[in-house]
Point group: C2
Chain length 431, copies 2
Amino acid sequence: MDIQRLNTNETDFWKKLDKRLAWDSESDHSVIETVNGILADVKSNGDKAVIEYTNKFDRMQATSFAELEIPQSRLQEALENITAEQRTALEKAAARIKSYAEHQTMDSWSYTEEDGTVLGQQVTALDKVGLYVPGGKAAYPSSVLMNAIPAKVAGVPELIMVVPTPDDEVNELVFAAAAISNVDRVFSIGGAQAVAALAYGTETVPQVDKIVGPGNIYVATAKRMVFGTVGIDMIAGPSEILVVCDGKTDPDWIAMDLFSQAEHDEDAQSILVSPDADFIESVMQSIDKLIEEMPRADIIKASLQGRGAVIQAKDMDDAIEIANYIAPEHLELSVDNAEEVAKRIKHAGAIFMGRYTAEALGDYCAGPNHVLPTSRTARFSSPLGVYDFQKRSSLIGCSADGASELGKIASTLAHGEGLTAHARSAEYRIK
Amino acid sequence: MDIQRLNTNETDFWKKLDKRLAWDSESDHSVIETVNGILADVKSNGDKAVIEYTNKFDRMQATSFAELEIPQSRLQEALENITAEQRTALEKAAARIKSYAEHQTMDSWSYTEEDGTVLGQQVTALDKVGLYVPGGKAAYPSSVLMNAIPAKVAGVPELIMVVPTPDDEVNELVFAAAAISNVDRVFSIGGAQAVAALAYGTETVPQVDKIVGPGNIYVATAKRMVFGTVGIDMIAGPSEILVVCDGKTDPDWIAMDLFSQAEHDEDAQSILVSPDADFIESVMQSIDKLIEEMPRADIIKASLQGRGAVIQAKDMDDAIEIANYIAPEHLELSVDNAEEVAKRIKHAGAIFMGRYTAEALGDYCAGPNHVLPTSRTARFSSPLGVYDFQKRSSLIGCSADGASELGKIASTLAHGEGLTAHARSAEYRIK
């Protein structure tokens, strides 16, 4: 297969790498216009507008909003409709995701100063969260678990899921995952109209405080636009994997790990970095050998040829520098002493340590979240976690003595900023 | 003064309150066009474009970028130029902000499962952070401390501050605050061009990973537009205070606390809630009495009359319900047992407990950050903190046994999602 080959020895290596990594996430003008119209319509006309868009875009025949709500009994039914093996797999995955998430819970804290002044931070859960789940082919039950379980661990009392069911096509695994995750309400709506319903509320859909979950360009654009009215999670770009390998892993394993990212869609990005030129050749041979067995071979080829790369590094230090520059969503350290190497990684969404730790294990069931920062945003952002469904309030309680002392400092600084009322308010509290 | 009076007994109370709280934060079309042009120009032309915009908008005469960098020696000089009282106040405030921030630092953690599989979370600091500080009249040295100190406590190695100096006008207190906060580099640039320089990097200005700090509509719009390329803090709306008082605090104190928010600008919002009708009248009298002494009386009047309100609640439970609905940036609980009442507050940026705890003390020197979520966004967001300058990477290290067990679950779920390469990648690791 014709995959771009790079070598860190080349003088224009970083320029070529930058070009390979570049991804423009901006929505085009026509998408923005369409979404704007839908948002305004749902804000004004509520349920009625959502029904109309749903009938139009998802080819449904709903006459009342009640038909678009999926009752809990239907979710329970889905649990019966899937195979026992699937149900066990979902339940085991859910238990592991929950167990990991419980380690992330933030607690309130406070401390008292000598003069009796109390300072602290009070942690509370969000009241209502909306979870967007894509319908049709891109419906991933694992995403329901990964988004819903941390919210429930955080203590969110009301979790509302929206999932389009175009042509009334239902994904039993998605409904089953919703049942296992204790989602509170489910509506079979999608697109920008579902985002609008959650952001503004309608007669039937409760207004939420934050909307999470992946979606197409219309959903992503709508989320970006309602940000501020509600919170949103990150806007995800195409999924990526960077495999750093010392050359001692079975090349078939590495080829398949690269495929597992590439099969998501044509824009997904799989990159291999290794200091071992012979190993890189072996992986290329494995790729050519294994590609024929893949049902999604066309997508994998388009992804690897259009956005993939194999990079020959000088040594492991060089490979680590590249990993930190790329700040990948998924980083596989298929090397000896992976835990030690991981300590040198500054930027990555998730770090998969050692030859046994295939990224696919993390996608489904290892425990940590599979919603991760893409497109180099791991430089400044984190995986989805319990902390995304909690927030903090500062606590300040001054004793009479404390207020008197702090009042003097505040008065000086307030006068320096020309804010007399601030100064006076502080001075009232000086003894 | 003619301030809107509301009573929770009124049938249309919530509708009236919503109207009073409404704030449209969207940028208008012409601002977006202007900012778009500046961003594109700086991205293409780097230093040269920034110099041109700075000379034009800030009426400067720079011929090289070197003239726009403020050396550390100049910051140290500012420490000498301010009064000893100001320097002590800044240093005391800085020490308290640092001490509180140190309580917020996140640590890495991991745990090992029975089969040897390791799961965890690795916490790292951001590499480079840009700090926007407004110039001219709105220059607040306290904001330099509040933004810079948490970044340094997080361990950010390179903190780059930009502050416009229109007509070469310099704010000595701002420079002194930069010296005290250990800011690494300072450039005298501002506006959308400064945001662009930090987001894309120029020949002289390093590209940062996140931009924080307040600014005017052009700065806010630019930050919103570069989000994704870099991280940003929240886009702040006008500042607000909600005072909940049981009627037992000196009405002059409460009037001045309301003024201290209102004096920021005409759009600031000060609201008083009390179950005590007589007390509300006393505060109104204090307002009329004290307003005449205020240098910024015009701004205070415009703010209180245009956006302020006094609300009579049925009782304290009712008052708390209103506070949770408003989710105010600043919440003063001027009541008995304020610490107990605070536990019932679900949504607020900062909670000021007790009659002595004037909001102004928190603005400057109590310790907790004064950069807080506005416009009801405390429903889903938090004060600026050390955690905003750290990020997390998930850690997954499967043992051979662990990978084998997880591989089975992943294989089942991957086949259910139609992702064969995921399944095969997991199956390679099954014993």
